[in-house]
Every structure is written in structure tokens, then in C-alpha cells.
């Protein structure tokens, strides 16, 4: 079973993404900010990170930069999920280490397609 780590400070977003992804057959873990995300990413291997931008303590950009420079973390793809639709925000996400960019609020199909694509097929 492919596993996904959702990093988002909004519990409703985590719940929504979790229920969609679990229904599609993924194992899902959650973190409320980048620091907890790093802790979880150090503790097990994930096939995909779904990362919010604005979070307290450590935001999504800082999380991506942090996991990308750590050799001990499995370098799986990351989807940044942002409230911003502008090109400069997209570029910033890619520069920090994201592999895909989705604009919030996410549509169920978008998230599921990206998850399937990024994890190399269905869960």
C-alpha cells in the first residue's frame, strides 16, 4: 500500500484529503506543520507529501527545503497545495522542492489524479 503524508494546519483540509485518499486505497498520515512533517518523514518512508503553504512554526516552503536537503529522508515527490494561483507562487514552490502544484480549494479528481501520477499508479 502506498503511503502519503498530509501536512496542513487546517483539520478540515486534512480530513477531506485523508478521506479522498483513503478511499482510493492509500495509507495516510497527518502533520499539523512542517516540523511535525519532518519528524514523521524521519520516522517512516512516504511515497508522497501533500504540503500546505501557510502553517505556523514551519511553513510549506521551509518544510520542502528541509526534507530536500536531508539525505536520511526518502526523496519522494511533493505536491504543494496553495491558496495562491499566481505563476510566481508556483515557481517558488518548485524552487523549494515541490514537484506538483495544486490551487486550493482542491477538487477531488485533481488530488486523486496527482496522487496516482506521483506515486506511479494507483495505491
Amino acid at each position: 500500500m502506498k503511503s502519503i503524508l498530509i501536512i496542513d494546519d487546517a483539520s478540515t483540509v486534512r480530513l477531506y484529503h485523508r478521506s479522498l485518499l483513503e478511499e482510493a486505497g492509500f495509507h495516510v498520515d497527518e502533520a499539523v506543520n512542517g516540523i511535525e512533517g519532518v519528524e514523521k518523514a524521519l520516522s517512516r518512508t512516504y511515497d508522497l507529501f501533500v504540503v500546505d503553504v501557510n502553517m505556523p512554526k514551519m511553513d510549506g516552503y521551509a518544510f520542502l527545503r528541509e526534507i530536500r536537503r536531508r539525505k536520511e529522508i526518502h526523496q519522494s515527490p511533493a505536491v504543494m497545495v496553495s491558496t495562491e494561483a499566481e505563476e510566481k507562487d508556483r515557481q517558488r514552490a518548485f524552487a523549494a522542492g515541490a514537484n506538483f502544484y495544486l490551487v486550493k480549494p482542491t477538487k477531488p479528481n485533481e488530488l486523486l489524479e496527482v496522487a496516482a501520477l506521483m506515486t506511479g499508479g494507483r495505491a
Binding site: 499539523v32 516540523i35 512554526k57 536520511e72
Partner: protein, 278 residues
């Protein structure tokens, strides 16, 4: 009337709030455990429904009830070798990193706070004597602090109940303790004499200003009971008291992710700990 009921959605609402605040996540299988403690606290505070209790919990300016509830949700008992994976991490990984960058002749400093009745700092000493091969090459200073002078007196006395020492291997119990006539155990004076006990209020700068260049902090099961601002202030005070590259160990249900972004997460074979950047 039976006690107030807690519905499935109440449980979910509470679980999310408590997770955000503390980092402790209760699985559905813990439902009975959580409900039981919630109902206890609801009764203790005279709340007639989950809703009125939750509103108080969330909006109380003093956070007193959140602290009381956290206390009820976490078992906080001190005994020798409690959460010993962190002591393993200390002697297997942390100290070797600390001394690798330490200028010659500078002592290694370890600070245990809150030290309560002494089980934690004494466990550290025993671990160092038993398991850290480099001990004869470095000076190690161990500080143990608590806000409560009564527990400090007990700690300095070094007398423990059989329950408190029950997780110690028998050989270590024989080696470092004397059994008293009343069945309690007194720790060897060589061990107790190697620790400096002091009264410290972590949030009072006058109390903490002496603590400098600390290489390893053990602060387990304290910050989880602080409000958001106080725990953040405490982390900042530790950061200031620590040497660059120093480590801080929190309790098993505590995470720096709810407290401060000053530290770096480090994973070792035995544990995840937090490091002040070099």
C-alpha cells in the same frame, strides 16, 4: 441521572483540538480511555454537558482546565530508567557528538528539569557510569532543577521506594543502592554527590541566568502542561542556555512542533531529539 454522554462527533471535535494543542493523537481505539477522563473532568468542574465543558476548556483564559485535563490524559509517574530509550540515545549518540566539537578541558553539561524526586538525574549518572566509555576522558557536570523545594529535598536525600526502582536491573540495584531496614533503597553517595540540585522557576530569568553552555537538556513532561506562550518562552530560555549543537530531550508524548521552530529535528537510532543548530 447517569453521567453526561460524549457522542462520536464530540470525541472527534475534542480529538482534533487536543491534537493541535499537544500533539497527542487518540485513535478510535482509545475512545473509552478518553471518554472516561473527559467525564471525570466534566464532573470535577460541574459541567452538565460536553458542549459546556469544551467551551470552558477552549476559552478559559488561564488554560487551567486544559492543564488539568492533560494531566489526566497522561500518566506522569517518575521512576528509575523511565523512557530509557532516551538515556540509550544519550550514551550511544548524543554525547559522542557533543564531545566531538568540544574544546579540550571544557566540561560536558547535562541539565535535568524538572528533576522531581531525582530518579531522572540519578538514572543519567548510572547510565554514564555504566554505558559511556569516554567518561574517564571528560569532565561531566550534572545539574538537576525543580520549582518545588520539597521534591528537591527528597531528591538530595536519595531514598526510593521499591516501586521507584523496579525497572532497574538487579545487578545495578545491588551496585548503586543500599537496602534500608524499612524496605526502601538509598542511592550510593558517590552518585548523589555528583549532582547539583537547585530550585529553578524556568520562566524567571533570575533563576535561569546561571545556566550556560548546557550540552544536553532533559525536559520531559513539563512543557505539555504550559500554555502556548509559556512553553514558547521556555524553549527560548533553553535555547539560550544551551551550547551550539546541544540537544534537548522532551517527553515521549511531547513534540517541539507545537512549541518552537528554533531547534532542528534529529533522528538517532534510539530516539528523535531536538538540536540547537551548530
Amino acid at each position: 441521572m447517569s453521567h453526561p454522554a460524549i457522542g462520536q462527533e464530540d470525541f472527534h471535535k475534542f480529538r482534533e483540538f487536543f491534537y493541535r494543542k499537544t500533539g497527542i493523537l487518540f485513535e478510535d481505539s482509545k475512545r473509552y480511555f478518553v471518554d472516561k477522563r473527559l467525564i471525570e473532568r466534566m464532573e470535577a468542574t460541574g459541567s452538565d454537558s460536553f458542549r459546556s465543558y469544551f467551551t470552558m476548556l477552549r476559552f478559559q483564559a488561564s488554560s487551567e482546565e486544559l492543564q488539568a485535563l492533560t494531566n489526566a490524559m497522561t500518566v506522569n509517574e517518575t521512576y528509575f530508567f523511565r523512557e530509557s530509550y532516551q538515556f540509550d540515545c544519550l550514551v550511544n549518540s548524543l554525547l559522542d557528538e557533543v564531545v566531538a566539537t568540544k574544546p579540550p578541558k571544557k566540561p560536558v553539561r547535562i541539565w535535568s528539569l524538572p528533576c522531581s524526586t531525582g530518579e531522572e538525574p540519578y538514572s543519567i549518572v548510572i547510565y554514564l557510569l555504566e554505558h559511556w566509555a569516554k567518561l574517564d576522558r571528560f569532565d561531566v557536570e550534572i545539574f538537576a532543577s525543580d520549582i518545588d523545594t520539597q521534591v528537591l529535598q527528597a531528591a538530595a536525600k536519595g531514598v526510593f521506594s521499591p516501586r521507584s526502582v523496579q525497572h532497574l536491573p538487579a545487578a545495578l540495584l545491588r551496585k548503586y543502592f543500599t537496602r534500608l531496614a524499612n524496605g526502601n533503597y538509598k542511592i550510593d553517595e558517590q552518585v548523589s554527590d555528583s549532582i547539583d540540585f537547585s530550585r529553578v522557576n524556568l520562566l524567571d530569568p533570575l533563576d535561569t541566568r546561571h545556566f550556560r553552555d548546557i550540552d544536553v537538556v532533559f525536559c520531559r513532561n513539563l512543557l505539555i502542561y504550559f500554555d502556548d506562550t509559556s512553553r514558547r518562552a521556555a524553549a527560548e530560555i533553553f535555547y539560550n542556555a544551551m551550547s551550539p549543537g546541544g540537544f534537548i530531550c522532551l517527553g515521549h508524548s511531547e513534540s517541539m512542533s507545537r512549541i518552537s521552530d528554533l531547534f532542528r529535528v534529529r533522528k538517532f537510532k534510539d530516539a528523535i531529539v531536538y538540536q540547537k543548530p551548530l
